[in-house]
Structures are given as structure tokens and as C-alpha cells.
Amino acid sequence: MRVFQIQRISAIALLVFLTIHMTVVHYPPFHIDFGRIIDRMGQPLWKAIDIAFLFFVLLHAISGSYAVLIDLGGVARMKRTLAASAILLAIVGFVYGTLTILAFQPPV
């Protein structure tokens, strides 16, 4: 699949996930309530939603950065190196992020 399609598909997914994220996490109340986070993050469903959210955010961010960089004529020559590091970065980010999400346990 092309970077272009990855970008559009993850964008549509993000519209959904970001709406959920913003309404549930930030409004209301307007200060971050640790108890609520822990409560919510303890539920497997929320863990699944957040892992999916993380996945699409990473796709969108990394393919977006890739697109920004290869727009520059000079960088376009290093396309392969850039693509390889993008994929590596995505995997590292996903693994680390997933571990973080899983680490939220009720009795923290």
C-alpha cells in the first residue's frame, strides 16, 4: 500500500479515535484525574481501544513525516534508508507504547 493510502486510512481512523479520546479523556473535568485514568485504563476494552489508537497515530505520524521529508528533492534520494528507519521507528514506538498501555494496572 502507498504512503498516500496509509495516510488517508489512518486519518479516517484517527477522526474516530481522536473524537473518543478528546471527549472521554479531557472533557470534563479539566484537570487530569489520576484515579479516573487508572480506572478506565484498567478495563481491557479501553486497553484495546488505546492500542488501536496508538497504532493509527503512529502510522499517521510516521508516514506523514516521511512524506514531508521526501518532498524535499535532496532527501528523496535517500528514500530507502528513510523508509527503513520509518518502519523501525514505527515498530519501536508501537512496542513501547503497547507496553506502556498494558502497564496501567488498577492497583498502581
Binding site: 504512503v3 524535499l72 528533492g73
Partner: protein, 275 residues
């Protein structure tokens, strides 16, 4: 429209000058020309060249908006100077600024190097590749199919869209709106036998998927064409390339018999084949 500008007897034309033999970098020079109704910007440039500075260099040929030589950047917009009245472009002080097309190397004064423009054009095989044998019946297009082309065949290759494109500015490897528009025209032509090959060529990260939908090409086109819509259409078609090509083969077979679908040698050599 009565404005104070019209009453001034002289107009100031600011021209970006550059002579590679003597100038280190481009500079702006001002000329005074009579502010007459019915004068085009090209007329003004001619007057300067004939009466004031014979070294002023610019391209023009037809002077009625069909050859595509005279695209320039006037007051920040890419337009054809031969079809644009001088008075409409003057600001409140009676000044108009003429620069060469942006983002392209300047050869001299208002003349730019358009080689990347033409190279990208050739890359999409702008010519028609018709079936090897001419069918008995004509290749008919429905009025809807013709309308879907949005007059793309009236492009005059002036380069206004190409040089307005932000993606071209960043990366000269991009095929460019002019060539993509032409490819769109050929892909949708029912006589063309290689739509699949064309879609493979333009359906890449250097082609339609590099476009960032900035719309400068539409804004710049002096013929009111719509390269952005052509690119959107090509994007959709590129994603169902095989099915599209099969439909084309089928359509030609029903018109001209099985022979028609075979590719011609013209596909490689660029022989202009008149059916």
C-alpha cells in the same frame, strides 16, 4: 470601472532583469509606458523593447493566447501577458510587476529554462497510442464522457500551472500538473490502447500520489482547466488499474474486433499514427 489609475497618462512597469553574462543576480528595473486602454501587458513589454531597451528578453509568439510562450508571473500570479490588459493589473500607484515564472532557472530576463517541464511531459507519453488496425466504426464517446474531460484537450502547455505548483518547487522529480493532465486525457481516450501502462507510470509517489491538493494549478491556468480534478480521477483509476484496462480492451474489441486490442509499435517509438 473608473479608478484614479486610469486617469494617469503613464504606467510603471517593473520588470525583473537578469543577464547571466553581466549580472551576479537578478534585479528590478522600472520602465514608463503610456497607459492606454486596449494595451495588453505584452504590448507594454514590446513597447519597452522597441523604444527603450532593446535588450529586454521575453518569449512570445502568437500574441492571442494559443501558443503558450508568454506565461509570466505578474503581480504574483502566473498569467499569459498577451491576453491580459495592462490597466487591469496596475495597482493604486499605477505600477505592475512582471517576473519570470517562479521556481524555474532563469535563462535571461523573463525567459526561464523549461527543460524539466518538457522532460516530465515526454515521460507520460503524451501522444495517443491507437489500435493497430483502424476499426470500421468510429470510437464514439458519450456526451458525459466528453464532459468528464473538463476540456483538458485545450491545454496550451504554457507552464503556468507547473511553475505555480508548490510540489514542483520542492522536488523537480514530480511529474507535474501539465503532464498529469495530458496523461488523464489519454487514459480516458477510448482509442488509447495502453491506459494500464499510463496509470502505472503516473500512479506512483512521483506522480499523482505526490500531489498535495494545493490547487495552485487551477488558480494559475489561463485556460480555466482543472489539473487537480484530473489528478483526483487518475488516483481513483490507478487503484483499479487492471479492471480499467480490461474494460478498455473489451470496449475496443466490441467496436473493432479482437485485433484492435493488440498494442502497436507506436507504444514504444512514439510514431504518430493517424487512424
Amino acid at each position: 470601472m473608473a479608478s484614479p489609475v486610469r486617469s494617469k497618462s503613464m504606467a510603471t512597469v517593473r520588470v525583473k532583469r537578469f543577464n547571466p553574462d553581466s549580472d551576479a543576480k537578478p534585479y528590478m528595473q522600472e520602465f514608463q509606458v503610456p497607459n492606454l486602454q486596449g494595451t495588453t501587458l505584452l504590448d507594454a513589454l514590446h513597447r519597452i523593447k522597441h523604444e527603450q531597451d532593446g535588450s529586454l528578453t521575453f518569449r512570445r509568439s502568437c500574441r492571442h493566447a494559443i501558443c503558450g510562450s508568454c506565461a509570466m508571473n505578474v503581480n504574483g500570479r502566473n498569467i499569459l501577458v498577451c491576453k491580459t490588459p495592462l490597466q487591469g493589473q496596475l495597482d493604486r500607484k499605477g505600477v505592475v510587476t512582471i517576473k519570470p515564472l517562479p521556481y524555474l532557472p532563469i535563462i535571461k530576463d523573463l525567459v526561464v529554462d523549461r527543460s524539466t517541464f518538457w522532460n516530465e511531459y515526454l515521460r507520460v507519453k503524451p501522444w495517443l497510442v491507437p489500435p493497430a488496425t483502424s476499426p470500421e466504426r468510429e470510437f464514439r464517446m458519450s456526451p458525459e464522457e466528453v464532459a468528464a474531460l473538463h476540456n483538458a484537450e485545450t491545454c496550451i502547455m504554457c507552464g503556468a500551472c507547473y511553475s505555480a505548483c508548490q510540489v514542483v518547487a520542492l522536488n523537480k522529480k514530480y511529474i507535474g500538473p501539465h503532464a498529469l493532465l495530458k496523461s488523464f486525457l489519454r487514459v480516458l481516450d477510448p482509442r488509447d490502447t495502453i491506459p494500464g501502462e499510463r496509470l502505472a507510470e503516473v500512479g506512483t509517489d512521483e506522480g499523482v500520489f505526490r500531489c498535495h491538493t494545493i490547487f495552485n494549478c487551477i488558480d494559475a491556468c489561463p485556460k480555466n482547466l482543472n489539473p487537480t480534478q484530473a489528478i483526483e480521477t487518475l488516483r481513483r483509476l490507478a487503484q483499479k488499474r487492471t479492471a480499467f484496462e480490461a474494460a478498455r480492451v473489451e470496449r475496443q474489441r466490441t467496436i473493432a474486433g479482437p485485433l484492435a486490442a493488440e498494442p502497436t509499435p507506436a507504444a514504444e517509438g512514439g510514431v504518430r499514427h493517424v487512424p
